[in-house]
Amino acid sequence: MTPTISCTDLEVTLPGASGAVNILAGVNLSVAKAEFVSILGTSGSGKTTLLRVLGGLLPATGGEVRCDGTPIQGPPDGVVTVFQDYAHSLLPWRTVRRNVALGIEARLGRAERDERVDEALTMVGLLERADEYPWRLSGGMQQRVQIARALATRPRVLLMDEPFGALDAMTKASLQDQLQQVQSLTETTIVFVTHDVEEAVYLSDRLVVLNGSPADIGLTLDIPLPRPRHQISTKERADYLELRHRVYEALGHTVGEPARG
């Protein structure tokens, strides 16, 4: 089976203050349909860059990126990126509702569109703020509007860049579970950038760590935890704790890992 999204020998060079800088080199990654892959890595390692290349927003300077087997030029149909930079990605002149409708309003009738928007806004807990302008929302709320906008399109592939970064633990947990549920229902393929190791292990089928400069994939780890997963019971499992431990180790720190009683 061809992977849904993949890159081979990916190389990306970006301009820098003192000439071009090689950001990614020799990155190979392929993500199968309905797979959930998380990307971890230190700040500035190139996670966002990789996601932008996979989403067709940045052309690779070397190697190949394919979606469903065909090399991509520009964002492919059904592949939606959720940006780390949420503040810039919402349209300030549209209300929350109309921001969420942006990706579907041309394709769907009024009724279905409204239904999808309401559904998406309910998922992220912002239905009652639907008629507000985004610049009147808190950071975490804006981030959730962007997530709702992506979910409303029912994408085949979802590329998410620290989507829950600005959320409190409660809201985050709830959205994690929503996302899991959506994925199991619709078989969405998800590539997920996060700094939260717990989150990565809890959500993923597979987890890769970007490191080095230029960065490549330093560690790939399968997470064979049974699904559906639960915030309490899954996180209590010995294999979950074991996996989590291995990731912390791979990230090179013993410190950040919460102590185990």
């Binding site: 301009p15 927003l57 940045l58 052309p59």
Partner: protein
């Protein structure tokens, strides 16, 4: 997304359509036409002015008023535009009066300005500055209003003085808007400069233009218009260059 190589200013090759137009005019134009003499006759048209040593001083006079007027308008427009953009009450207080002033035709202001200031460069400047201020003021006002509140909070929380807040944050952040306003204002300033000179015949290209028009010297009229156009184009080109280089540095925000 593609890494484009941007050079400063508007590419000169963009003049091709205009050149083509002039060539066609030259080819089909009738050299004896009293209204549309072809470009080749224009130089002959202004030759008498060159011979009489009148052209260069006229260009100098007009340039002085035009450039100085534009400079004053820029300063005024940027300052008032920023104030009006920052404070809703200042905006509401000043806007109607300013709207009133800017609709007034320069030609009817000239006699009044001349009464107060005489037939001087100052009088020309007053009449030129008023309409030229507007584009800069309005563009600057809108840009000021759309600045991110966080960007404005930054210097406050860092305890920057008002002066430093102005020079280090507002000025660079609003420069692209001011330059856009200047681009719009430049031809206006030039038009009004010429108009004042036509009306008063106070030294300058406009005075020569008015005289040429009254004498039905159409080749000379086109010749003078071309010179005025080149003047406007030159100033505009400089401003466009500045704008491109500024917005390139500002790419993070645009």
């Amino acid at each position: 997304m593609k890494a484009k190589k941007e050079r400063g200013g508007t590419p000169i090759r963009g003049l091709l359509p205009l050149v083509a137009l002039l060539v066609i005019w030259e080819l089909v134009g009738d050299p004896a036409s009293p209204y549309f003499p072809p470009p080749s006759t224009w130089i002959d048209g202004i030759q008498p002015l060159i011979d009489a040593d009148k052209l260069l001083p006229a260009i100098g006079q007009t340039s002085l008023t035009f450039v100085l007027g534009l400079a004053i308008a820029t300063a005024l427009g940027a300052i008032v535009g920023t104030l009006v953009g920052a404070s809703r009450s200042v905006d509401r207080a000043l806007s109607p009066s300013l709207e009133f002033l800017r609709a007034l035709p320069a030609a009817s202001l000239v006699p009044v300005a001349a009464l107060v200031l005489g037939y001087t460069t100052q009088m020309k400047l007053v009449v030129v500055v008023l309409p030229a201020t507007w584009p800069i003021l309005l563009t600057c006002r809108t840009a000021r209003r759309t600045l991110s509140p966080v960007l404005l909070d930054t210097p406050r929380t860092l305890g920057l003085s008002t002066w430093h807040r102005t020079t280090k944050i507002l000025t660079p952040a609003l420069t692209p808007a001011v330059l856009l306003g200047v681009r719009v204002a430049a031809p206006l300033a030039l038009i009004i400069t010429l108009l004042v000179e036509i009306v008063t015949r106070v030294n300058g290209l406009g005075a020569a233009l008015g005289a040429a028009q009254a004498g039905f010297l159409s080749a000379q009229v086109y010749g003078l218009l071309t010179i005025a156009g080149i003047l406007g184009f030159a100033v505009n080109w400089i401003v466009t260059r500045a704008e491109t280089s500024v917005s390139r540095r500002m790419r993070g925000t645009v």
